[in-house]
Amino acid sequence: MTDIETRILAGLNESQREAVTAIDGPLMVIAGPGTGKTLTIVRRIAYLVHRGAHPGSILAVTFTNRAAQEMRGRTGAFLGKAAGGVFIGTFHMLGLAIIRDNKPGDLTVCTREEQVKLLKTVLDDPGRKAEEAADSMSRFKNLLEDGNEKMRALYDRYQAALRSKDLLDLDDLILTPMEMLSDHALLQRYRDRFRHIIVDEYQDINPAQYRFLRLLAGDGGNICVVGDADQAIYAFRGADVTNFLNFEKDLPGARRITLSHNYRSTAVIVNASDAIIEKNAQRIERTLSPVKKGGVPITIASVPDERAEGEFIVSEIEARIGGTSHYRLMNARSGDLGPDATFAFSDFTVIFRTNAQAEALGEVFRTSGIPYQIIGGRYQGKRKDIAEIADRIREYAAGDGVTTLTGTARSHSCIMEVLEGLAAGGKDPFYLSLYDLMRFHIAEGNIRTIDDCLNMLSLLTPLDDFDALADCVTLTTLHGAKGLEFRVVFITGAEDGLIPYSLRDGQDDREEERRLFYVGMTRAKEELFLLHARSRALYGRNTAPLLSSFVRDIPEVFTRTVALKDRARKRHKKQMKLF
């Protein structure tokens, strides 16, 4: 083995090593939680390059921009300059790149708001119909619905309206390149270019993305899909676990390698979460052996209500940080941890099933002063902001005559002036972060024109809100927690109705809900808390939920139970009687 090879394979276990070196023919890597998935992909890229693959021939598709960024960073750290040629990005970024390479002229990816606005004109209806139409267009484009005649007619008119304005919607970033690739010569060119394809989080891709991928990979190409059927959590977005299960059927001769060592969590957490996911019927059998032995028991905490839930979490965090102020120090239950404490705020996460739970939790954190961030929570608000910012930049550019977008420097100053104006005048730190983000992208050469900037804005996904630099407690939905890990995890609302979620009609996919809970549990490295409020106000109703049936499935050997008493009611003083 050469030195370089030794370095590439260093520290890998047997199955990881296999997954890195199996570079001929289709490959499916089953990567359970904490099995070193990203590490394996990064080393595989390095191995491919080492074995003579041109970096530009490698395509690595990730699920979020955040994941792409991490992978790019780690690949860069390992490969150095050679990593620059590797395409690492989301499906949408890949689609955009293909469109840009082949369609000269301007195009802009529109936001959801712009999409709805457009549909309002198409439908000639200012009401809420446009929202529904946008949803159904999205389902249609993602191949989730065949669509009736009426829908197809709307589709034609909608597409025409988009084209007339040189606009694409997000779904077009998959659809349009697929149309382009019906040109055989062009398809061949891309197949020749991307000889090595790696797909991360494969369990969550939707039918349109699947077709796009198959198109690019051709038959029996060097395609490697990495994922875990037990962590498929996007059925509502059209991601389908059967895609994953059918990989071997679609690509005969595909190899399957299972990464079987969990490096993240204690044995208690691995075994307890396994006991739950094993109850699912639709899965690929696999075993996961924990590398870390033992571990503290999982705490099942029963609290009176959602406020007590938040306060319990805050006090557990403070007990580990060792008090955040003199006042709290003096009142701490467990006193100070002393000089051996090693925790930071970013070691903690609070995970919930629905965004509706974020408010009460956020309130407790706000008053505690503990720094926290809610990821994915303010999606709607931010999306609206982004639409407004896009509008402003467009107007500004038009007024300045920069729309033709030739001068890079002028485009830059135009973008920065608009964002700077917003950042300076606005009280919202969001504008400032956005300003910094764009400045970063300009410095990195990712934004050359106004359109690049607008497209970048449209591609911001809610899961990208996460700011890795800010050390704070992360509050997130179970969906948003995917791909993250923390030393201490609190899952709130571990109650029937929320986990599994069954409060709204037509949403009771027990297996998907179980996978979601499994994803939440397996985020924990050291400690896991499952919280159950005996009374909860949700969607304007007061409920008295029972402990989640999923939690009851955890074998008792892995758990300990804590119950907080109901809040003391004001007692009516009994009148003292003389006799």
């Binding site: 940080i321 060792g322 008090g323 955040t324 102020s325 003199h326 120090l329 003096m330 006193g335 100070d336 941890l337 002393g338 000089p339 404490a341 090693t342 925790f343 930071a344 705020f345 970013s346 070691d347 954190f365 706000r366 008053t367 505690s368 002063g369 503990i370 720094p371 926290y372 009280k427 730190p429 400032l432 972060s433 700011d467 800010a470 050390d471 704070c472």
Partner: protein
């Protein structure tokens, strides 16, 4: 707390330039910007319409505000949880706003006047320097165990370990209540720094327990220049360090108060319950010091250890510090002799005796000479001061009535 109260008490205490505190809190900053106006030269003054007329004429003086705020950073560095408090001074409301905007990305500024940020103290310094290059950044109460740069529990062994390449931007540290300059003189690493003393005042009547004495122009630049270079910085007014909450070691829950030597003999464990004791400031200084007790470096600034006048009066009257008699006596003395710092430091003893009593004269005389008995504070418990033994007081009182 309102700016008017700061203005009033600064005069009663004898403080010319008072830190506003809490400028990171949006509501407080708003109130400050409404009730004060720039005095020119980077300080603020109360708008005329908010000046009340309840300040004794004997104390009446100009008061200036300096925008200041304390920030708590809690983070992990080199495998340990670190908790460091820092004070930031900026010249203009605009700078404060700008800094708040930058910090609001990182933490929640609304919860507390002293916000908690999950940020490396060094990064906080970098942000402050970026946003406002003229700002003054000072590690707060540098020795308290839990929340300071040298703290025994979650601090560092040197400024360099904390601030790395930005250490040269640290030109002063705050000694805090539990340490005084003479303790800090034992570390040669601190020789280049100005040792400053401030007292955060959760109630305005506690203002000025510690203070800095400067002979400079009254401007932000002149003051920060004096603090950064020592030029024009004449010295500090201090608590007796023993009176501070963390001078000795111990375990408050068990009432165990230990000297550093006793702590070592006990193996750092509470002799009552066996839990770890809280290591105090004196112990920590001993640990990091490279010089013997009593060393005085060249050019060290003098300092004056004082006891707040209400506490002095409480002892001479034999009552609690918050009693009505203390309050009445305090007012009387202030009216006759001028502001509190003047009474404690400069007023002729004969005048004090005339306005007060022979016992008060004796008490202040003893404080000026440093002749007081103090049971040192430990693990969050303030030290207990005694200027007189009970017998002594009776004796002195008796003398007083003879003549």
């Amino acid at each position: 707390m309102v700016p008017e109260a700061l203005w009033k008490w600064a005069q009663i205490k004898g403080v010319t330039v008072v830190g506003t505190g809490d400028f990171t809190h949006p509501a407080w900053l708003k109130e400050l910007s409404e009730k004060t106006e720039p005095a020119g030269d980077g300080l603020l003054k109360l708008k005329k319409e908010f000046e009340a007329n309840d300040v004794p004429s004997s104390c009446s003086a100009n008061v200036f505000f300096m925008l200041s705020s304390e920030i708590s950073t809690i983070y992990r560095k080199n495998g340990k949880t670190r908790k460091v408090h820092s004070i930031i001074f900026v010249p203009r409301v605009a700078d404060a706003l700008h800094l708040n905007l930058a910090l609001s990305k990182i933490g929640n500024l609304n919860a507390d006047g002293r916000p908690i940020l999950g940020l490396d103290a060094k990064e906080l310094l970098r942000i402050v320097l970026d946003v406002c290059p003229g700002a003054l950044f000072v590690p707060a109460h540098a020795w308290t165990p839990h929340f300071s740069v040298f703290g025994a529990v979650s601090g560092f062994d040197s400024l360099e370990e904390c601030f790395e390449d930005l250490t040269p931007h640290i030109n002063a540290i705050e000694t805090g209540l539990s340490s005084d300059p003479s303790m800090n003189w034992r570390l040669s690493a601190l020789d280049r720094l100005t040792l400053i003393s401030n007292s955060d005042a959760h109630s305005p009547a506690k203002m000025g327990r510690e203070a800095n004495i400067l002979d400079t122009d009254i401007s932000f630049e002149a003051i920060t220049h004096a603090v950064s270079t020592g030029q024009g910085f004449l010295g500090t007014i201090e608590f007796f360090p023993e009176e501070g909450k963390y001078h000795y070691d111990g375990h408050r829950a068990c009432g165990v108060n230990l000297t550093p030597d006793e702590t070592i003999r006990q193996g750092y464990l509470c002799p009552v319950c066996g839990r770890k004791v809280t290591v105090g400031v004196l112990h920590r200084v001993n640990r990091l010091a490279d010089r013997a007790c009593g060393f005085r470096p060249d050019g060290a600034k003098p300092f004056y250890s004082l006891i707040p006048l209400p506490e002095v009066l409480a002892e001479t009257l034999g009552t609690g510090g918050a009693s009505k008699r203390v309050d009445a006596e305090y007012r009387r003395l202030i009216h006759q002799l001028g502001n509190e710092l003047r009474i404690l430091m400069d007023a002729p003893l004969n005048d004090i005796e005339r306005a007060g009593s022979p016992l008060i004269r004796e008490a202040i005389s003893r404080i000026r000479k440093g002749e007081v008995h103090i049971v040192p504070g430990f693990d969050g418990e303030y030290g207990k001061i005694k200027i007189f033994e009970t017998r002594e007081r009776k004796q002195l009182k008796g003398q007083a009535t003879l003549f």
